[in-house]
Symmetry: C2
Subunit: 298 residues, 2 copies
């Protein structure tokens, strides 16, 4: 029996803009938690919420130090979690940082962060993915437009839109160093992509996205409706965003790296199944299959 696919993409059909079938904010606990009613409303409407000063300078400094230390320790081990920029050289990302570092293991259980995410998702949550993006100075390359959910659905088997990403600025996110750009309102549409997923696509796509790329005319349409917002912020600020919000960033030729920590919380009621591409699941360090909930108030 063929499994029903609520969000088909890369199935050989044409690129399409389809309606979202899941709530953005689950009503169950939306009034219980650290986010204000206007914060919840903005998240529902725009698909993201910016909170300046979420981490204080001392907390942020300790995270910065750990982030600088990590690639050095891991580069020697040739760990697959370390992704290099296309063309080699600089480290682009390190994955599964909450498994290789006690500092980041503690970070993902920060109670006011977990409670904010639970307030949006209306259930207990677990960590689907964690990583640092370094966006190095001078030669940091772009991250092309994408909805994370499209990839997580097709390549990881995440069934529904019920996950929240947290982007934590380790360095100043300025107008010049390739800041995260989001398209407000884009999370309410599912953008299915053309083509098929090649086997072991992640080995290439984490360096440079070539598959699961939304069609240009659809991007134009989304941006015409919602515009583009690049929340600028000092180190320690966070952006919470829906798993289906269209986002990307330009390259960075400035001398200022634009590193950020990226944490993804998924609802325990939305645990991964077999990938909708029909292929093997991606490795644990990219898409965890340990669905143990993070204890509230850890």
């Amino acid at each position: 029996m063929t499994r029903h696919d609520p969000y088909p993409s890369r199935t050989g059909g044409r690129a399409q803009m389809l309606p979202r079938k899941d709530p953005v904010v689950c009503s169950t606990r939306s009034s219980e938690g650290p986010l204000s009613p206007s914060g919840i409303e903005a998240f529902e409407r725009d698909g993201f919420l910016v909170i300046d000063g979420f981490f204080d300078p001392a907390e942020t400094r300790s995270l910065q130090q750990e982030a600088s230390r990590l690639p050095e320790t891991l580069a020697d081990s040739r760990a697959p979690e370390v992704i290099f920029e296309p063309g080699g050289g600089a480290v682009r990302s390190v994955f599964a940082i909450h498994r290789s570092s006690t500092t980041f293991a503690k970070l993902v259980t920060t109670s006011r962060l977990v409670e904010a995410v639970m307030q949006i998702l209306g259930s207990e949550v677990y960590v689907h993915q964690s990583r640092i993006n370094y966006k190095p100075a001078f030669r940091g390359r772009e991250f092309y437009w994408h909805s994370d959910f499209e990839t997580w659905h097709v390549e990881d088997g995440m069934p529904r839109m019920r996950a929240v990403s947290v982007s934590l600025n380790l360095r100043e996110n300025s107008a010049h160093n390739g800041p995260l750009m989001l398209v407000p309102g884009s999370h309410k549409h599912y953008i299915s992509c053309e083509g098929h997923t090649p086997e072991r696509n992640y080995e290439k796509s984490l360096r440079e996205q070539v598959c699961g790329v939304p069609e240009m005319s659809i991007l134009e349409d989304l941006v015409e409706r919602g515009g583009i917002v690049a929340p600028l912020g000092p180190p320690g600020s966070v952006v919470l965003f829906d798993c289906n919000t269209m986002h990307g960033s330009n390259g960075n030729i400035t001398p200022w790296p634009r590193s950020n920590v990226f944490l993804v919380y998924n609802s325990v009621e939305n645990a991964l199944e077999a990938p909708y591409s029909g292929q093997q699941p991606r490795p644990e360090y990219i898409a965890s299959r340990d669905f143990t909930p993070i204890p509230a108030g850890a």
Copy 2:
């Protein structure tokens, strides 16, 4: 007899920051012309001057139309003046537009533009180079940091720093679509580069700069002193900048192209000699050797 080189670069030595040996504003005519004393002062100090609304909406629209038309006409002829993005496909630049288009031929003689440049350079001027940079939507690639003068000196034989560039925005230059970034004050230092110039370097460098690239620690030093400014502006605004101001731009993944017209005026007292690289001069469409002055009040 070996010719003295006031600004050596790519001569096999180490990268260096050397003092500028030429005035930024020539005193001869600096009080005669359309630029205010404070405008002249800002240009001298920062190495650039932004003037919003230099061209009115009707003038700008006609230039936009001509800019859209040009690559179509020229693409068929496989003219060498048409430069494609690395990886092929989209048009990155079209050179010598004042020779292939009567609209742009007229543009370069616009009297208030030429008079502003003459006010800075203190002599009659001619057009050293003209081009459109398209910075196309979605896939526009970065222009890495460079001083134009370094290339014009080494590859074209421009003897001294006595030229001014004009960047005219054909489209909105927003924070998101890879705007021109300049380093204030950088024009007062000459950044010599490592390595040697390969023969026919321009065939590659106009697509992606690999030679004449300033050293990272020197860029850090310049930015630490002067910061980075990205003048944003609507279509029709212009940036006048010194030939030695360090500048560059990030890529552009937005649906908004960031096309601009780029005109370079050189003093007739600074006419090109043999390239300091010792190689053949670059073609006329990149570096004109017709030094006929533009008549004032054309």
